[in-house]
């Protein structure tokens, strides 16, 4: 013991270095664990079906003469303009597939940590609560951006390649911004929606039901209320409705519901704020000693 005590410590003068991306290990682990789920692989692949179809549409739009036997009289459906992009981004199928992927990728993000009491392991390491949240949210960012921003940009790139000119971008200078903006909106919304629900329970199965159920139920509520009140404003209760309304507004298209588009933005922002508050409170649960 004596030799040990001799060593001792003076105040440590080392440099405290912050890592640039302390959240990255959380994201990487989250993505890797998600891809271990067999069902996810199926849904993930299936979610790209619209992207492939829309990409084919872009190719056909540049080779109409070759494919006129297929599109006689309905060429307007493969006219490549912001409406074409809006149709892809706000399609019921794509939004539904995103929710399905969130079920696999997002349900356990916080719930599993709460269940396994893992927060104390994270927070005894050089990461803060913000890094933790960012790391978890980035898992959702990855999956949503792969289904939105990546295909959106690929559509533009392939359109330019097939057309052999930049005229398309000159015609629709705001289109790239719309793609990036709406992808960011979807990503932020779905990340906050998923993390909010994942933080509400320690049981991943309940969260799975919540992610799926809240999305569908909000649309059912809209349908019921619309049947009773006949007011377009009841679409504000529908998650899908709000996303489609916001999408139409961002791509500069006719709004699907007859109410101001900013209201949908407010609803989505409200969900974001509620999510942030709930998540912060749940993370502080690590400060309760059990």
């Amino acid at each position: 013991m004596a030799t040990i005590r001799d060593k001792g410590y003076s105040h440590w003068d080392g440099t405290l270095r912050d890592r640039r991306f302390p959240w990255w290990p959380i994201t990487r682990t989250g993505i890797l664990l998600t891809f271990r789920k067999k069902q996810l692989k199926f849904f993930f692949a299936f979610a790209f079906v619209p992207a492939v179809a829309f990409l084919a549409g872009i190719y056909i739009s540049e080779r109409l003469e070759d494919f006129k036997f297929m599109f006689k009289g309905s060429e307007k459906f493969i006219t490549i303009n912001p409406a074409y992009f809006k149709t892809y981004f706000t399609s019921d199928f794509l939004l539904f597939m995103m929710v399905m992927i969130l079920v696999f990728a997002g349900a356990g993000l916080v719930a599993d940590d709460l269940k396994h009491n893992a927060l104390q392991l994270y927070f005894s390491r050089p990461i803060g609560k913000k890094d933790y949240l960012l790391g978890k949210a980035a898992v959702i960012f990855f999956f949503i951006l792969v289904l939105t921003l990546v295909p959106g940009l690929l559509f533009v790139i392939f359109k330019l390649i097939f057309a052999g000119s930049f005229r398309f971008l000159a015609e629709y200078p705001w289109l790239l911004l719309s793609i990036v903006g709406y992808s960011a909106l979807l990503t932020l919304f779905f990340a906050s929606y998923t993390l909010l629900l994942s933080a509400l329970s320690k049981n991943r199965r309940y969260v799975t039901i919540l992610i799926f159920g809240v999305y569908l139920f909000s649309d059912i509520i809209y349908g019921i209320l619309f049947g009773i009140f006949r007011s377009p404003y009841v679409a504000l209760f529908s998650i899908k409705g709000n996303l489609q309304q916001a999408g139409a507004m961002m791509f500069g298209r006719k709004l699907p519901f007859a109410y101001p588009g900013y209201l949908s933005f407010l609803v989505l922002a409200g969900i974001f704020v509620v999510s942030a508050v709930v998540l912060w409170r749940r993370l502080r649960s690590v400060e309760e000693v059990r």
Binding site: M1, I4, R5, D6, K7, G8, Y9, S10, H11, W12, L16, R17, D18, R19, P22, W24, P25, R28, T29, L33, R36, D112, H116, N117, A118, Q120, L121, Y122, F123, S124, R125, P126, I127, G128, V286, E287, E288, V289, R290
Partner: protein
């Protein structure tokens, strides 16, 4: 020698519940045992030291720096929580490498450190098994491995021996002592007193959120004047030995044990007692075979201090 950990007027409460109250102490390199019954405030204290909790009042300094929000400083601390904190579906290797990647090591270094930690806790052969299939002892060892894998200066172990079999306990105690020998600071909590006693005589006694005593266990025992020291003597003639002490003013009580070969003496002055005992033995009146102090241990000190 400067302390590695210092707390000043440290207090923490949860709503109306007091977790820790006005704790001022220092912890130096070597092993320090943190002792207290369940709910005494041990885990609160450890979480404050590891920067997971913000004190309501007071401050914790680790290596001379306030620990709250000093995330890079956490790389100097290894924390082994009491409860399981695993994703059951990942392997031991993935568990360790995942946690090591928070420290900014290169991929190779993460692998090297994980391999070394697994080797230390003798889990190399099971590294590719899912944690779901680990026994309780293996879980405890992988928990310990994650606390030491990044080679921290300070190791904080919350009930590290619970769930281990005797052999496992012995191995872990040996490991902890090895880190002590390297000059590191180790804080070990337990409510099982012999476990702490096997590792260190330097303790912090905590009860109902307050520090009852800190220091060397024997020194603390000496300071407890309200309770006389109990000394048990095995000898060939207990009655003759008792007669030698019966009139001594420092002897509080004398009694014979049921086996008829032992005399138990209660004294407030151990030095005076042993001085007289030497004289008695040298005078050749009695042959003493064994001398023990049944209350010069952690359990007795703890019981005295908490008023049992």
């Amino acid at each position: 020698m400067n302390p590695t950990i210092e707390t000043r007027s440290l207090s923490k409460w949860y709503g109306n519940v007091l977790g820790l109250s006005d704790v001022t102490l220092t912890i130096e390199p070597g092993i320090t045992g943190l002792l207290g019954p369940n709910g005494a405030g041990k885990s609160t204290f450890m979480k404050l030291l590891t920067g997971q909790l913000k004190p309501n009042i007071g401050q914790v300094a680790v290596l001379g720096r306030p620990v709250w929000n000093a995330y890079p400083l956490f790389a100097k601390i290894g924390f082994c929580p009491e409860a399981d904190a695993f994703y059951e579906e990942i392997t031991g290797w993935e568990f360790l490498t995942g946690l090591l990647s928070f420290y900014g090591y290169s991929r190779n270094e993460v692998g090297d450190r994980a391999a070394k930690a697994l080797d230390i806790v003798e889990l190399t052969a099971d590294k590719d098994r899912r944690i779901r299939g680990y026994s309780r002892g293996m879980r405890q060892r992988i928990r310990f491995a994650q606390a030491i894998a990044h080679d921290p200066e300070i190791i904080i172990l919350d009930e590290p021996l619970s769930g281990l079999d005797p052999l496992g306990k012995r191995k872990l105690i040996h490991l902890v002592k090895g880190y002590r020998d390297q000059g590191r600071t180790i804080l070990v909590s337990s409510h099982v007193l012999p476990e702490i006693e096997a590792m260190t005589s330097r303790i912090i006694l905590i009860h109902q959120g307050k520090i009852l005593a800190q220091g060397d266990i024997h020194y603390i025992r000496d300071l407890i004047e309200t309770h006389p020291h109990i000394i048990s003597l095995k000898c060939d003639d207990p009655r003759a030995l008792a007669a030698s002490f019966v009139k001594e003013p420092y002897v509080h009580n004398l009694r014979f044990e049921a086996d008829a070969g032992s005399l138990v003496v209660e004294t407030h002055n151990r030095d005076a007692f042993f001085g007289r005992l030497n004289a008695v033995i040298l005078e050749g009146g009695v042959r003493v075979d064994e001398i023990t102090s049944p209350d010069d241990n952690l359990q007795a000190v703890f019981d005295y201090l908490v008023g049992k």
